[in-house]
């Protein structure tokens, strides 16, 4: 059963976007910039963790975030009958 309900669809979309943007902010501005010094005391292989987030980790997370959003939205489109 699919139901066309633009208001509920939009609300669900905004919720996904906000959650994903919180993660987007935490890995880059959080781990890579604000808490960089603190995280640098942890080492993984040759990488200091804060440095790694700034120059590697945040970018991997960005890619994952977009694909998670793609999946979530494809599902949401189906639930509400907006898929094509």
């Amino acid at each position: 059963m699919t139901k066309k309900d633009p208001k509920a669809y939009w609300k669900a979309n905004i919720r996904y976007v906000l959650i994903l943007l919180v993660i987007w902010f935490s890995v880059s501005y959080g781990a890579g910039i604000i808490f960089k010094e603190e995280l640098d005391s942890i080492k993984i292989g040759g990488f200091k963790l804060g440095f790694w987030f700034a120059q590697q980790g945040s970018m991997y997370v960005f890619v994952i975030l977009i694909f998670v959003y793609v999946r979530l939205m494809n599902k949401l489109d189906k639930t509400y009958g907006y898929d094509e």
């Binding site: 910039i33 040759g46 120059q55 590697q56 960005f62 793609v70 939205m73 898929d83």
Partner: protein, 576 residues
């Protein structure tokens, strides 16, 4: 010639460069002839039927410019940790694009960014302001690309920079004018393949050489291949501090400035018209989301490799030259010295190269662009790899230039001629106007490439600030805030872009004062590069404030907003 001494039988670098550059150029021209545009829809948005993968590749090539390919790794190699502003800034914007912009603009389904601004804010003034911002951003950016083409030509083929710029202009002219967005899209797909291959091959070679790990992303966090068990990054931190520089993994910029620059670059990326229009070319809304993801994945392959290249190149360079006798320097050193990109001044007359942070004692000045261009030579890789880097640099510069030229020509022919000056123009007439404005744009870009005004280099980095300060808030509010009206949006864009321009003129160009004000005068300690984020906030605040005192947008515009929020029924990009 060095090549005769080292590779007596093999082809020399220059011949390899001619072969590889010639082959790739023939490929681009072939594609252009095959994909000529017959309608305005094909010219502006490639007919709206590009697959998500092809669009992802084209977006990646469009996005990665001469700066990403040639300069970025070099900048990072001198900036260390601070280089992260470019890495995060130029990738994080795609998350904003995919989540906040691309799907809705695709659903809206017109040709250009000013199209959206003009329709959403039901006003010719809004459209005009948007056209002005689009032209300002694209022209500052494209001049840098043509210069990049000229530099690659002159360094690898030993022609004069101006000849290089002209060759580049002719090539771009050919496929941008003939093929429009359709031609550009498919050449960009080919250019992505060339540039990523050209970037990865030397990186993998050098990673194996230095750490034994074939994956550069892991290599620069590994131990050295010399069996000492020392981590590469620890060694580089040690070398850097020994010579008086900051430890490589620590930066020298203030945290607030790193934050502001990263934000300005991210938001600017999401607001750049030549990136946004790429998402008008796919079929459905879900394809727009997916192709943003694919584009970022393809970009991140290069962007996560670049910081590894930076570490390899920096370590290699220090080890090769520091405290070595000038008489014994390798051939590449002499070769690049003759181009003026390396300069050595034996201040203490000991015949050795002293490379230290202290400018009084330092004897060696290395241009950052060399770190990528000369890296294969420094690491003694085969000649074809060196030539490949030239072909890759050209692919990166040409693909970005073409994307920008399309934005310029569509701003003129579609937004100015068709929408404002002469709405009755026929499709054939508009197509001719589009081609003519592309020719005009190439000539202007070429002129700036040959005669770069002193401020071009300074301004290119700020194109992002301008995009962040103007388009981003207007588009976001247009989608997510139904109540936003034309008065708010226009006031916001004007205040945002003016603030950015003024700050740039004061602190980057120094036109307001006798001398350029120094860092201590920056507002909140934020550099001109980072000021885009402040100007963007200003735009948001002004938009919302002005909106509160002015009338609601008309009913049909509110319906338009509700409509673009729903993905189904996007149809093809249409012209009203």
């Amino acid at each position: 010639m060095m090549s005769n001494m080292i590779f007596l039988e093999a082809l020399d670098v220059q011949n390899w460069t001619y072969i590889l550059v010639g082959l790739t150029f023939a490929l681009y021209i072939g594609i252009a002839i095959w994909s000529r545009a017959a309608s305005t829809k094909e010219f502006y948005v490639a007919g709206g039927g590009v697959s998500p993968l092809a669009n992802g590749m084209a977006t990646a090539a469009d996005w990665m410019s001469a700066a990403s390919f040639i300069s970025m790794a070099g900048i990072i190699s001198f900036a260390g940790y601070d280089g992260a502003v470019y890495l995060m800034g130029w990738t994080g914007g795609y998350v904003l694009l995919a989540l906040l912009l691309a799907p809705y603009l695709r659903k809206f389904g017109k040709f250009t960014v000013p199209d959206f601004i003009g329709d959403r804010y039901y006003s010719k003034t809004a459209r005009l302001v948007a056209v002005f911002c689009a032209l300002l951003v694209s022209f500052t950016y494209v001049a840098g690309q043509m210069r990049g083409v000229g530099i690659v030509f002159s360094r690898f083929l030993e022609v004069n920079i101006n000849t290089g710029v002209i060759i580049g202009m002719i090539i771009v002219l050919f496929y941008a004018v003939l093929g429009g967005m359709k031609g550009i899209t498919y050449t960009q797909v080919a250019q992505y393949c060339v540039l990523i291959f050209a970037f990865m091959v030397p990186a993998i070679f050098i990673s194996i050489q230095m750490t034994g790990n074939p994956i550069p992303q892991f290599g620069f966090g590994s131990t050295l291949a010399d069996g000492s068990g020392t981590y590469l990054l620890d060694k580089l931190d040690g070398l850097s501090t020994e010579l008086g520089f900051n430890a490589y993994t620590n930066g020298s910029k203030a945290t607030i400035d790193v934050f502001a620059i990263t934000l300005a670059l991210m938001v600017g990326t999401a607001g750049l018209p030549h990136v946004i229009v790429r998402f008008f070319t796919v079929k459905r809304v879900k394809d727009a989301r997916k192709s943003a993801g694919l584009a970022l994945l393809l970009i991140v392959i290069l962007y996560t490799t670049a910081p590894a290249v930076s570490v390899f190149a920096r370590t290699n360079m220090i080890e090769t030259v520091s405290e070595k006798a000038y008489a014994d320097v390798p051939v590449w050193f002499k070769k690049w010295e003759s181009t003026g990109l390396i300069s050595f001044d034996d201040k203490n007359k000991d015949g050795k190269i002293t490379y230290v942070a202290n400018p009084e004692k330092n004897e060696l000045i290395v241009d950052r662009d060399i770190m990528v261009l000369a890296n294969p030579e420094i690491a003694r890789l085969p000649n074809w790899v060196i030539a490949l880097v030239a072909a890759g640099g050209l692919a990166a510069a040409l693909s970005t230039a073409a994307g920008l030229l399309l934005v310029i020509s569509s701003s003129v022919s579609h937004d100015l001629v068709k929408k404002i000056i002469n709405p009755d123009i026929s499709e054939q007439g508009e197509l001719i106007a589009a081609r003519l404005s592309a020719v005009g744009a190439v000539c202007v870009a070429g002129y700036f490439g040959i005669n770069p005004p002193g401020f071009v280099a300074a301004v290119v980095a700020l194109a992002f600030g301008l995009a962040a300060a103007s388009f981003f808030p207007a588009i976001i509010l247009g989608i997510f805030y139904k109540r936003m009206n034309k008065e708010g949006a226009v006031a916001g864009m004007i205040v945002g872009i003016t603030a950015m321009l003024l700050y740039m003129i004061k602190f980057k160009l120094g036109w307001f004062d006798e001398t350029l004000p120094d860092q201590s005068a920056w507002w909140f300690g934020i550099s001109p590069e980072g000021f885009g984020s402040i100007a963007m906030l200003l735009n948001f605040v002004v938009s919302v404030t002005v909106m509160r005192f002015t009338a609601k947008p008309p009913q049909d515009v509110q319906e338009l907003v509700e409509n673009i929020r729903i993905p189904s029924g996007a149809g093809e990009a249409t012209d009203h």
